[in-house]
Amino acid sequence: MNRKYNNKNTLCALKKRINHKHCSLLPIVSPVFLMMVLTLNFGFFVNYQNTPLYVFAQTKETASNSSSSAPDNQLALSNLIKQGSPYYGKESAPITIIDFSDLQCPMCKRHVDNTEPQINSTYVQTGKVAYVFKHLPNRGFDSMPAALAAQCMNDQGKFWAFHSILYKNQGPIDSGWANSENLKKFALQVPGMDINQFNSCFEGKKYQGLVKSDVSLANSLGFTETPSFIIVNSDGSNPQKIEGPKPFPIFKTTIEKLGQ
């Protein structure tokens, strides 16, 4: 059982390998190369972010119900409010952040827990930015009911309270935490809400059209993940795109660039 190692043999093996330099490295090099290519490709997508959206906006038709055909107007704060999108901040804020999120998405929770409070305290509370929510329920089967329920809460001015409760109680995707029964229970936790009005709105799927138009808008803007953001001037001009739960310094850089 006792084993020892013959170091002479080891050294011999080391010397002999010098004579076999031409052995194929393909099996090792190819997966590493593949990963490098994937990384570089992903780097391309990362670098593609924060680019002006004129090209997207001009070439792709938005599916919103708004009568305006000018894409920039779709993103104007006044139009977003008219469409019924939940928002907070002053209507006179010079810059608007439009947040496309899924209430089931863990990366959206990361944004809500880490970055949004910093945006709120630095820019929204100081009147520089208005923050608008758009629905992009694409992560699971319970995402659409969650979006409909949240939009129904907006009828009673309780969207942000409900939004906060949902993210605090977020569980694994489609595990049942956001099924219809639980959504009604979460709604009851919001003080001062009218449950009958909520049930009527939620069960009647009152805002299905609005949520679908939000999804179409997101698709027309080329968003492929949640959360995704557009930062625009209040008139909808000069849109800048951010995809993913980017940290606050990236938002800060983009907002300050826009404000110049």
């Binding site: 190692y5 990362v46 924060n50 992560r139 489609d174």
Partner: protein, 174 residues
């Protein structure tokens, strides 16, 4: 029980010896390969996990929800660096032939590590596979940590195999 003890005792000797054989044979080459593979995969995993950003500014952060995942992916990247450089050593050493278990361990380790990190590209999967994609991406997201631990386990196994292969010819029974 005695077999297990001898196995662990054997590993205790084998692993440091394998490291010495590989890294001391050509420190610049093999440490270089390990460092490069580690750096590439560390960056790859952290970009996919939305922790490392290059545009518009270079920025790296670790939010609370990402701490465990970050530790596991860093371990995976380090193991990948070691396993790849040891594989390169074994391939270059003609005395020791490469076998399927060694290669499959390494490739499976790389693939599972990469796969466990791909939940953030879920939309791509959903848009490609529809309802099945929703289920697949939900699974990848919900079981991200266990999948990553599994990938670390596969890499440890690959390391064990490559250690054995790189020291096998050196062992003599007394």
């Amino acid at each position: 029980m005695a077999n297990k003890q001898s196995l662990f005792k054997g590993l205790k000797d084998t692993i440091p010896l394998a490291f010495k054989i590989v890294y001391l044979s050509n420190p610049v080459l093999y440490i270089g390969i390990s460092a490069s593979v580690f750096a590439i995969f560390w960056a790859f995993f952290n970009i996919f996990d939305q922790l490392l950003f290059f545009s518009p500014i270079l920025y790296f952060y670790i939010p609370d929800d990402a701490q465990i995942g970050f530790v596991i992916t860093t371990m995976s990247a380090a193991l990948l660096g070691i396993v790849v450089s040891m594989n390169v050593y074994v391939i270059r050493n003609a005395k020791i032939r490469l076998d399927k278990s060694l290669l499959s361990g390494s490739v499976l380790g790389i693939a599972s590590s990469a796969c466990a990190s791909c939940s953030s590209i879920g939309f791509l999967i959903i848009s490609t596979f529809g309802g099945a994609g929703i289920i697949a991406t939900g699974f990848l997201t919900n079981y991200q940590i266990p999948l990553r631990l599994l990938s670390v386990g596969v890499l440890v196994w690959a390391l064990y195999v490559v250690n054995n292969r790189s020291t096998k010819s050196c062992m003599v029974n007394q």
